[in-house]
């Protein structure tokens, strides 16, 4: 008995092969996204955690003006501190005139042998400098890679005004420098900025800093409270010009990588779950309908004496085979895709051990979801059929009860040709069935939109941030604040059309228990190269008093216009002042705070000055500008916005777009699978009717027209509904989007809509052709011979 049912199962699978394949494919797509995305994301997190552990990444970081080495013992005595490491750190310029832009580096002293150093540099290639070789250095690996350095490479470095030629003996990975950013910048520029480690004695001698340190890193004892330690460190270092200690959350490299991980988090964890959820919903719907078509067969089996359990088990087995096959394929595809994505991310995240691994919990979860959804769909239908008294089910199924709807009452029906009337009736007469197809297609289209819209959002971000808000072409950073005169003199440099002096100071803002460290920008009065854009898109003028902050910062501090925040300046005389938030502006990148420059300088107790100049360039004359600026002794760096922008596009955007591509591709497959299934089920539900029409003498074209019209009646509303679903999912995704200083607008460009609508319509067209082919081959005699 069972073997006969097994044979039926086998035949059913053969008969439904295209449907089985396409359903399995929908499941596979959902599973593959989950397995690959979550796996990649977790592998990234694991790689970072592993790296932190092997590299002994510290927990607290502090910079200071200078302190004698003995102060380190005071730090070590702080409650909860397990270890301290001090060093010298200086920004240095590299004398590489042939480079396209000035190359600079952070020079760090290597721990002296016998210091009992905790932090570890992981050698990528070469070796560490020998203690007795004061001119040997190692550099961070990304810097070496970007500049094509080899062992033995000569590096001309300006140490405190003196040109020294150092020799690169190795490249290292450092947990502290996974991403290396120039002070004040958000994105690494490995070609022009790196880290070099060299003998402490050499560095101390060059800067006359023997017996002192200007940076310290601390490791905490298990269970120690970070805030308490930070407070104590600040008290110890206050007299030595401490800039305020911070934990990992404000350590630039950690923060950067954290931001990138957060960027991925929604795309890599939340969306795939939604994807699989949609796939599961579709699987459920399709299997329920497939089983529902087996009415007579179930009745026959029951009449023959098969129990309800046996019959139901048969259909559950069918569901299991389909979802199980989809799951297996999905895991295979997911592992492949995950491996590929991980390989791409190796270019962004330079962790020593970074391998893709499928998460066992994800495998179990996806198996449970796929099997569960399939079984539930099949179970509901099979139970309903099996519980019918066999005699009742053996009667020709009662024709579906159609009623006259509002369409007739309006008298519209009568004017339509019969094929249209038939199609309309079928859709309107079984609204739930039609709606389930429409909802299915809409859901699939929704995930396609949310998969594909990231590029649009990022492009809109770029336009807002880099065209509306930041209108400068570049910025010039001064060693120390300069008077306005110096800024004016920049305007005489050929290639610079305009220069605006900005005073930037590091501050900590507090509001209640919340606090943030930001670079506060004092802007010159008139709206110039930096614009303040309100939430509604209008431009604001900078008030004479009070603070203007970006909505990120305001949210981070939990304040709004009119609220008071405490400002702690972290340099110079370190004044503290309570200020009112005058306005909140819309910025999409970074946390910024602005105030009037004169007011800021007054607060700092200085004459009006500038630490940075925003410049507008003359594109025709800006060649060689680097060289001309290098002759200004006060200028440390000059950076071009365009270069920054392209680095932004190559890193932060690219990272998200990798996932976006995968999401889009798989979503497109889901759309195709679901449109095909919706139509295909409809064909088999309607075969008999259509055969009857053919017998009467309607042509193949006529009956295809009915079905295709019906398909259109279900797909066209799905486009509208799908657009709404997509919009909703994008809004949710953007709200969940992780990084606190990167906010994406919900912008869905025309091309994304075109893609989504195009995929739906293309799937519908291909499906229509397949339906047409199937109807052309409809065996009239066979269909009509069997009773419904």
């Amino acid at each position: 008995m069972v073997s006969v049912l097994a044979r039926k199962l086998w035949r059913d699978l053969g008969r439904l092969r295209w449907q089985v394949l396409s359903i399995a494919f929908v499941v596979a797509a959902g599973v593959a996204i989950l397995v690959s995305a979550v796996g990649t994301f977790r592998s990234l997190e694991r790689a970072r955690a592993g790296f932190y552990a092997t590299a002994h990444f510290p927990q607290v970081f502090v910079r200071l003006t200078r302190a004698p080495d003995a102060v380190a013992t005071q730090l070590a005595r702080i409650d909860g501190v397990q270890g301290v490491e001090t060093r010298l750190a200086f920004s240095v310029r590299l004398d590489l005139p042939e480079a396209r832009a000035p190359v600079a580096a952070l020079a760090l002293s290597l721990p002296r042998p016998g210091d009992g150093a905790r932090s570890r540099l992981l050698l990528e290639w070469g070796r560490l400098p020998r203690p007795e070789a004061p001119r040997e250095v190692v550099v961070n690996e990304a810097f070496a890679l970007a500049r094509g350095m080899r062992p033995g490479e000569r590096l001309p470095v300006i140490l405190n005004g003196q040109r020294e030629t150092l020799t690169v003996v190795g490249a290292v990975l450092s947990a502290e420098h996974v991403a290396v950013m120039r002070p004040g910048e958000h994105i690494p520029d490995d070609e022009h900025y790196g880290v070099i480690w060299l003998d402490a004695g050499t560095l101390a001698a060059a800067y006359r800093a023997e017996g002192t340190f200007n940076e310290a890193q601390l490791w905490l004892a298990p269970g120690a409270r970070e805030d308490a330690v930070i407070g104590a460190v600040d008290r110890v270092l206050g007299p030595h010009g401490g800039y305020g200690a911070n934990g990992r959350s404000e350590q630039p490299a950690h923060k950067f990588v954290d931001g990138e991980l957060q960027e991925l988090e929604v795309e890599a964890t939340v969306l795939p779950v939604i994807f699989l959820g949609v796939a599961a919903f579709l699987l459920n719907m399709v299997l329920a309908r497939i089983v529902a078509q087996e009415r007579t067969q179930v009745a026959t089996l029951r009449a023959l004496g098969f129990g309800v359990g046996t019959v139901v088990r048969h259909y559950l087995l069918l569901a299991t085979v389909i979802s199980g096959a989809g799951w297996v394929a999905g895991v295979g595809l997911g592992v492949l895709l995950g491996g590929g994505m991980t390989a791409m991310y190796r270019a962004f995240f330079r962790f020593p051990e970074f391998e893709f691994r499928a998460e066992p919990s994800v495998l179990v979860l996806s198996l449970a979801i796929s099997l569960g959804a399939g079984l539930m769909g099949a179970l509901a239908s099979a139970l309903r059929l099996a519980r019918l008294a066999p005699a009742e089910a053996l009667q020709p199924a009662p024709p579906h009860a159609f009623r006259r709807g509002w369409l007739e009452r309006l008298g519209l029906m009568a004017r339509l040709p019969m094929t249209a009337r038939l199609a309309l009736r079928n859709v309107a007469g079984r609204p739930l069935r039609a709606a389930s197809s429409t909802v299915g297609v809409a859901a699939a289209m929704g995930i396609l939109v949310v998969g594909a819209f990231w590029q649009d959002a990022f492009e809109a971000l770029v336009v807002h941030q880099f065209q509306r808000v930041q209108r400068e072409d570049g910025s010039v950073v001064f060693m120390d604040p300069v008077p306005d005169r110096a800024v004016r003199s920049l305007e005489h440099v050929p290639g610079i059309r305009r220069a605006e002096g900005v005073r930037v100071v590091p501050v900590r803002m507090r509001a209640g228990r919340l606090h943030k460290r930001v670079a506060l920008m004092g802007l010159p009065g008139s709206a110039g190269l930096r614009r303040l854009v309100g939430k509604d898109g209008s431009e604001l003028t900078l008030p004479d008093h009070g603070l203007v902050m970006s909505s990120h910062l305001a949210d981070g501090l939990g304040v709004g216009p009119g609220a008071r925040v405490t400002l702690e300046v972290l340099e110079g005389k370190r004044p503290r002042r309570a200020l009112v938030v005058a306005a909140v502006v819309e910025e999409r990148l970074g946390m910024s705070a602005y105030m009037d420059r004169d007011a800021l300088c007054a607060l700092l107790g200085e004459a009006p000055s500038a630490s940075l100049a925003l410049v507008a360039l003359d594109p025709l004359a800006s060649d060689g500008l680097q060289g001309r600026l290098a002759r200004f002794p006060a200028v440390v760096t000059f950076s071009v916005k365009q270069a920054m922008l392209s680095r932004f596009q190559d890193t932060m955007m690219e990272i998200v777009l990798v996932f976006s591509l995968v999401l889009t591709l798989l979503a497109a497959l889901v759309v195709a699978g679901i449109v095909y299934n919706a139509a295909r089920i409809q064909v088999s539900e309607r075969e008999r009717e259509l055969a009857t029409m053919r017998v009467m003498g309607f042509s193949r074209g006529d009956i295809s027209e009915v079905l295709i019209l019906e398909l259109a009646l279900q797909v066209l509303p799905a486009l509208v509904l799908g657009a709404l679903v997509g919009q909703g999912l994008c809004t949710a995704a953007v709200q969940l989007f992780g990084p606190e200083d990167l906010s994406l607008p919900v912008v869905i460009a025309g091309r994304t809509w075109a893609l989504a609508v195009g995929v739906v319509l293309a799937s519908a067209t291909v499906t229509a052709l397949a339906v047409r082919r199937r109807l052309d081959r409809l065996d009239l005699v066979a269909v009509l011979k069997v009773r419904e």
């Binding site: 159609f402 038939l422 009717e689 029409m693 017998v695 309607f698």
Partner: protein
């Protein structure tokens, strides 16, 4: 057998083989048949003897393996799919054991479908009046009894005023009384419209209504008899 010159349908040596893997079933083994204009023929025969197969071929639903089949001056053997479709739509009406109505259409609309195929079609009201269903015009199939559904199917088949009306066990799913009503409807149609009508049945009692009775056996017309007098539907002794 008739002269064949004025026959509506002229079949000679029709065979039909069904091939399933190694096994060949010879459903028809050489059928010779002429249907005269307006006559009513009843086809009797054991199950599996090939009656439905023959009807499907006569009605242009299927093609024979060999033989000759001519409808007036159209050669149906060499007709392509489009020509067969046109043949069915213009000349043939089918009635099946299972009514095969379109559940989404009312009785009136099921019949009116025909109007989209042929110009000369009766109005749905006229056709339904022929089968005595004038009062059920706007009911959907689910709101009709089996016999009523079958009468709608007949009305639909005759609405195009077919030259050939093929009924495959039209009363097979019906009780005696309802069967009688359906047969009466078929007789009325045959009389009023002079459609050549052929009815397959397992019920020998129905044979009395026919002009001619064909006995089918093993894929052939085994014998044939002509009724001197035809009985009415009421006279059928089920």
């Amino acid at each position: 057998m008739g002269a064949g010159d004025d026959a509506v349908l002229h079949a000679r040596g029709l065979t039909k083989d069904y091939r399933t893997g190694e096994v060949v079933v010879q459903a028809l083994r050489g059928v010779d048949l002429d249907l005269e204009p307006g006559e009513l023929v009843v086809l009797l025969g054991p199950s599996g003897s090939g009656k439905s197969t023959l009807f499907n071929i006569l009605g242009g639903l299927d093609v024979p393996t060999s033989g000759e089949l001519i409808y007036r001056d159209h050669d149906l053997i060499r007709a392509d799919e489009a020509e067969l479709t046109r043949y069915r739509s213009e000349h043939v009406g089918f009635v099946f054991q299972f009514y095969n109505l379109l559940p989404a259409l009312t009785a009136r609309e099921n019949v009116a479908l025909v109007g989209e195929l042929v110009e000369r079609a009766l109005s749905a009201e006229e056709a339904l009046a022929l089968v005595g269903l004038s009062d059920r015009l706007d009911h959907f199939p689910s709101q009709l009894s089996g016999g009523e559904q079958q009468r709608v199917a007949i009305a639909r088949a005759v609405a195009k005023q077919p030259d050939l009306l093929l009924c495959d066990e039209p009363t097979g799913a019906l009780d005696v009384e309802t069967g009688r009503v359906v047969i009466k409807a078929l007789l009325d149609v045959n009389r009023k419209m002079a459609s050549t009508t052929a009815i397959i049945t397992h019920n020998a009692a129905i044979a009395g209504i026919a002009d001619r009775v064909l006995h089918f056996s093993q894929g052939r017309v085994a014998s044939e008899e002509r009724n001197r007098t035809r009985i009415t539907a009421e006279e059928i002794a089920w």
